[in-house]
């Protein structure tokens, strides 16, 4: 008896194709980065915005403490929007806000802070954007919640009321 293999083969191929497309149907075609992963913070050296002295990341971030690293620039419009939320968070004693001034002109950045006040404990300069890449950032604004030298939460885009509530909840 001759076994007819072709119909079965065709059905098999069809099923594989169906399975691949069906799986692909549910995937988002927009890239969604993993924002929940707990990754160790990078070690780096940067220039202090205030005094132009080189500072090591180990002298900024300590264990058992919460930090918020906010990447900002004076040319970035959403940074202006999120600024009031950062000023609000500054009142929390449990957290230190560290600023990373991304590809900015020093004078413009200074004007920005004079106008809106600074929520930052320390501001670091990232004039070529390479420190932001070390953090796995995409651009400005972007914010990282850090605890125990690990990134606990990543907020891509401007901070809003909800993200502040979430951060405060984590701080509790």
């Amino acid at each position: 008896m001759k076994i007819k293999i072709y119909p079965f083969f065709l059905i098999f191929v069809f099923l594989i194709i169906f399975f691949v497309f069906y799986k692909g149907l549910k995937n988002s075609n927009i890239y969604t980065p993993n924002v929940q992963a707990q990754i160790d913070i990078p070690e780096f050296q940067a220039i202090n915005f205030e005094n132009n002295k080189t500072i090591n990341s180990n002298d900024i971030f300590f264990k058992d403490k919460f930090y918020l690293l906010n990447i900002w620039a004076s040319w970035c419009v959403p940074c202006r929007e999120e600024h009031r939320f950062l000023m609000n968070l500054k009142k929390e004693k449990l957290i230190d806000i560290i600023g990373l001034n991304y590809k900015d002109n020093h004078l413009n950045a200074k004007k920005f802070l004079d106008e809106l006040k600074s929520p930052y404990k320390i501001i670091l300069k990232d004039s070529d954007g390479t420190i932001a890449i070390d953090w796995g950032a995409y651009g400005v604004p972007e914010t990282f919640l850090i605890y125990d030298k690990k990134i606990v939460k990543k907020i891509i885009g401007p901070i809003d009321e909800n993200s502040i509530l979430e951060i405060k909840e984590i701080l509790k």
Partner: protein, 121 residues
């Protein structure tokens, strides 16, 4: 003797150019294999966005400090996930992707072999 000196200098200059060119070629190759995550359908090499320009600089600095192509891919994969690589690595998520063409080739070959060669005989 003078000619010998010139020859040595020429030798070094030519070799330096080759090394430099190799570095640039490798830099090009790496940045072409990296996806610009904030652009649509562009590689880091093709894009002129702030993100792409910073990443180009990071690749250049890493190559200058003696990192290999693999090390640079590993570093960026750790930061941004596998999506940043255009040429995905062989792992449990990509078995199907890498093996399906080979499987198709083998099955196709078997069909051709059965239809034409065995029938002929």
């Amino acid at each position: 003797m003078k000619l010998f000196k010139y020859l040595i200098i020429t030798f070094f200059v030519i070799n330096y150019n080759t090394i430099y060119a190799q570095d640039i070629n490798l830099e090009k190759k790496i940045t072409k294999n990296l996806r610009c995550l904030i652009c649509q359908g562009q590689s880091i090499y093709d894009s002129d966005s702030e993100f792409a320009n910073s990443l180009k600089l990071v690749v250049k600095k890493k190559l200058e400090s003696g990192n290999s192509e693999e090390q640079i891919y590993d570093f960026l994969q750790e930061k941004y996930g596998e999506w940043i690589l255009y040429d995905p690595k062989f792992n449990k998520n990509t078995y199907f992707l890498w093996l399906l063409p080979i499987l198709m080739f083998i099955i196709g070959g078997a069909i051709i072999f059965k239809l034409f060669i065995i029938k002929k005989n």
